[in-house]
Symmetry: C2
Subunit: 304 residues, 2 copies
Amino acid sequence: VKESEFHDWLRRTVPSGEGVFVGIGDDAAVVAGADRIAVASDLMVEGVHFRVQDAPPARIGAKAVNRNFSDMAAMGLKPLWILASAALPERTPEAFVCSLVQGMLDAAQAFDVHLVGGDTSASKAGLVIDVAVIGKVGKEEPLTRAGARPGDRILVTGELGGSSRGRHLDFTPRVKEGVFLNRHHRPSSMIDVSDGLALDLHRILDASSVGARLMGGKIPCSRDAGLCARTSGKSPLEHALSDGEDFELLFTLSPQGAEALLRDGSRFFEVTEIGEVLPDKDERTLDVGGRIRTLGREGYDHTL
Amino acid sequence: VKESEFHDWLRRTVPSGEGVFVGIGDDAAVVAGADRIAVASDLMVEGVHFRVQDAPPARIGAKAVNRNFSDMAAMGLKPLWILASAALPERTPEAFVCSLVQGMLDAAQAFDVHLVGGDTSASKAGLVIDVAVIGKVGKEEPLTRAGARPGDRILVTGELGGSSRGRHLDFTPRVKEGVFLNRHHRPSSMIDVSDGLALDLHRILDASSVGARLMGGKIPCSRDAGLCARTSGKSPLEHALSDGEDFELLFTLSPQGAEALLRDGSRFFEVTEIGEVLPDKDERTLDVGGRIRTLGREGYDHTL
């Protein structure tokens, strides 16, 4: 495919959206902003984040978009626009490219988000996808990783661990949950679990200069974590702590706030209290059946 | 390098900026926006856009940023923030990564632009860089490729051709010129010459549904175009028409507008009138010493 023909196809395929003044096909897109916007981007590399033989292109495209939506959700914000770039290996079949884009568009449409631009290039090696996301900051302040206070409860949406069994490709980013939490419960800090519960909690604790104790028995281990444990030699809890790519929301709330959320919010989505923030930033522990051990920085911290 | 250590270094190295509410280190950056924002992104792939052995990493980083600034300039807008993502081959030396980032930061600083986020990943093959840029739309409407009218003059900044001799790495994106043109002369259409004068002019003509005649003798051929012609078997004019990566601004103005710009604006920067817009969109020609020939879509339209 010639790039120019691909662009023609894109212009016909990508729906135009509200707030998009100049869409695909010019040097830049022009979109309606607010007083403040939030921006993030996320790379996906063949052989590192996915293998082409394991996943149809539409799911790869959807994952690339949903990972970014998860970042917006972690700020308590709704994504509005995306830019998508792809470096494509030589002789990538046209059908592959179309499915990849369609997967992105479907994932975007699920949250009423518009693709407004991006770039394509040949690649001398594998497929590389980079998606940038733009969200609007409304009345609610964005939620950051900093702000957890001693005494706050630690909570998490959904279930954790074993995402490699398929959930890492087919997850629903917690956009609705993140916006709901921001609007109605104002967590003191929030992050999405992309690199593992333990490591992502450390990131909140680092940014907030506090410690924490997790209650091992309360951590919601997914069925996949249990299935992985059968052959891995690790426990379901260890999978839940360190597997990553769960894309659930991890956040902190005052004791009263946690109580209110568990009473009301849990009607709308699954949420579990799993620990407590401690004042000493060096005290980061895991309570497993009364035995207290150090909470390691287990998770996905790859080497560059 | 561990990603976490790299991020620590980044947080220390990247200057914080005005309008940046949440910078590097959270799930997304939060920046001050205006009523409308402009966004674009641009991929650079090792072996396609550059070779590591030909260029020091700081120049590769600078080019990745400046290509995006050129896209903003082509809309007549000033870039404000960037997100930079890089997929790095295994065992990339730490010094290489630091120089790459420093090159990006220096390029950004030259236009008072702030790096607010991005992503890094391992790469199974070459280096891939994707930069997204965000610009603010002020009082002036962004300039698009559509809007050229029959009778308009075609103009270009600087000199064209032979950028492969080094200028493709060390160019100054025409941000000041683009903003100046937008504010004081309101071109009817504008684009940056990234894939070759001929092809990029066709893009303006396609978007505007018009034709054009270029005056071959007026096209400003660079010294590099002449040097390339000595060994390539092509003329300097052919290099100027199709080489690409000039990152000059190509735009259209009414006859009166062109006259005013050539009288006043050319005091600030080099600008040349090179042709005229024609009503028939199928009439796209090049006049070389009185011989009229068809203007091909020569330039860089790569195969995906």
